[in-house]
Symmetry: C2
Subunit: 334 residues, 2 copies
DNA sequence: CACAGCTTGGTAAACGATTACACCGCTCGG
DNA sequence: CCGAGCGGTGTAATCGTTTACCAAGCTGTG
């Protein structure tokens, strides 16, 4: 068995209470005893047992996080930012992957609750089907929705202003002279998809642009971007610009356009969303909407802490403005 | 306060022992009492407390994992596979990011130990500087090194056979007629970089290829790929092929070649390593070495479990063969 | 000089679950 | 008819820590 505080106390010739006070800084302890305890702990290689401490305190100093699918290149950067922010206050992250499945998401939420995490950060898989998990958790724990939210669910949320982001993209291509524009995104299953769609509709109307072709809604993947490009190519004429719901779609689309010898940006402008690591490396480099991960993560933790402080705080929804990163896919920089 | 097993027992009119036996299946309990307990638990919305259970059992049913940098696109897929594999046996993953810094890595290892994880999976940041963390942990916990390993460290490891992978790439480009080949990779700071470098040296010698230009060693990033491409372009002549240490480097290199109007594969062949999500979407699609994540993850957990079973098992090093994925960057499929 | 008040240490009770052990009442075999 | 054995239940110890409470000793003041 590992060294416990009892062993440390024994070797130092003090009671466990004193040892505990020295090691986790409760009350004052006389210098000589404190030294003896520290020395003894060092000699024995004592390490505190966070499980026992958590049981006693009723807090684990850990936060759970459920992500729809960690393999999706946008989420790791958010996870990284959250993990870093938490570590600044000495807390750890328990990460779970929902495998894009609301029932897995619910199971994960339950095990995280069982592990007594102090709070939960959820990027919901679905705007509707994730409600069950959130409801169940929220009755017992502080929960913050990150990035995406559940429709009509009254809870805290922090994320990027998706509609604004898309409108930045639309304004950008309009300013470059585009008159007709297509939208390739995901079915409005999660809030991001919904808000981006709404943002697109509103912005195009506001700016008096022609919507060319149907809105092509599939999923947030390069494969869908490819398929959508084929649909566009099969149509009577290409739009002046294609606004994509995320970068993966845009990258897939660019690949298909390239294969079909459609030149970007000469023949058609293309924009993405998220500014994932590879957006700048695409061919051509992708104009996109950047999400400020660090800000989003730190607002998320701030909100979580506020909620932990006061469960009766009114729900907050914090939408953070993204920014447009102009690259060659919308302008001949070369 | 939350509902405890005491509340459940009280409401069902039985002792906590009986309630516990019903709820976590210890000894047999008479059907009527069992029903009463289950009913009472349901009515009260009882959820067990995994912290208390862990303290009692001395096991947490959780595994820690330390990753050099979750933002690096190769790691999330490994994390995903590990998480899924663990969840099959009802265990959770505590994920930590080492921020590419061995001292952060050590701190993370310590907090994971404090949390009493049942085992630890480490992708070491450095082949030398990560030793301290591993030594400290290994004396108390089962540890498996994943993907990378520490030099001369006697511990379990599971990963891909890096040298073999590179030799696959070299043989591939040799078979396509290349006579001169450059190697662009990272400084041999971690074992992957070391093994890939060794694999390159051995394979080129074995096949009698000319090594063109110096080996260009920087870091595993697209930025370095770009810089390396510029160095190659500045040289007297391009090699027939460039073998890259990973996909990010290759993608950066492709971008720079494109800008310089060097045609791939016509003027020069390029290969990557890892088969990250974006490899197939690069321009041209990247020939690369695929790592079988699922196999690696499941072998990793198998080894971890074996180690947990018997701490005295001799150390195992499991190198899994990768496979070559041929795409257009080494052949004019179009 | 006596006593209030402060400091410092120890004793023991939590935290929530599991489980060794004791006990009770039944059944069944001799 | 008695005792052994067994199935089912409760009591209480336990996991490692923190901390409320208590006691003892010391200081300083009226």
């Amino acid at each position: 068995m590992a060294i416990t505080i009892k062993d440390v106390a024994g070797r130092a010739g003090v009671s466990v209470a004193t040892a505990s006070r020295v090691l986790s800084g409760g009350r004052r302890v006389s210098p000589e005893l404190a030294d003896r305890v520290r020395e003894s702990a060092r000699e024995l290689g004592y390490r505190h047992n966070a499980v026992a401490r958590a049981l006693r305190h009723g807090r684990t100093s850990s936060v759970g996080m459920i992500v729809p699918e960690i393999g999706n290149p946008f989420f790791p950067s958010l996870v990284e930012a959250v993990e870093r922010t938490l570590s600044e206050s000495g807390r750890d992250l328990l990460l779970c992957d929902a495998q894009q499945d609301p029932s897995v998401e619910l199971r994960r939420a339950r095990t995280l609750m069982a592990r007594q995490v102090d709070g939960l950060i959820v990027i919901p898989v679905s705007a509707s089907a994730s409600r069950a998990a959130l409801d169940e958790v929220a009755s017992r724990l502080p929960v913050i929705q990150l990035d995406r939210f559940v429709t009509d669910y009254l809870g805290d949320w922090v994320g990027v202003d998706d509609a604004l982001g898309i409108s930045l993209a639309v304004e950008h291509i309009a300013a470059l002279g585009s008159r007709s524009v297509a939208f390739v995104s995901a079915e409005p299953e999660c809030s991001s998809a919904q808000q981006r769609l709404r943002g697109f509709t509103e912005a195009t109307q506001r700016m008096g642009l022609l919507e060319s072709g149907d809105r092509l809604l599939g999923e947030f993947s390069a494969g869908w971007g490819r398929a959508a490009a084929q649909k566009l190519l099969a149509g009577p004429s290409l739009p002046d610009a294609v606004v994509c719901g995320n970068d993966e779609i845009a990258v897939g689309l660019l690949g298909e356009f390239r294969r079909a010898r459609v030149r970007v940006p000469d023949d058609v402008l293309v924009t993405g969303f998220d500014d994932i690591r590879f957006a700048a490396l695409a061919d051509p480099p992708l104009t996109t909407i950047r999400q400020p991960h660090e800000v989003i993560a730190s607002e998320c933790i701030r909100l979580l802490d506020a909620r932990m402080d006061d469960a009766d705080l009114p729900a907050q929804r914090i939408a953070i403005a993204p920014s447009l990163i102009a690259r060659e896919s919308t302008g001949s920089v070369s």
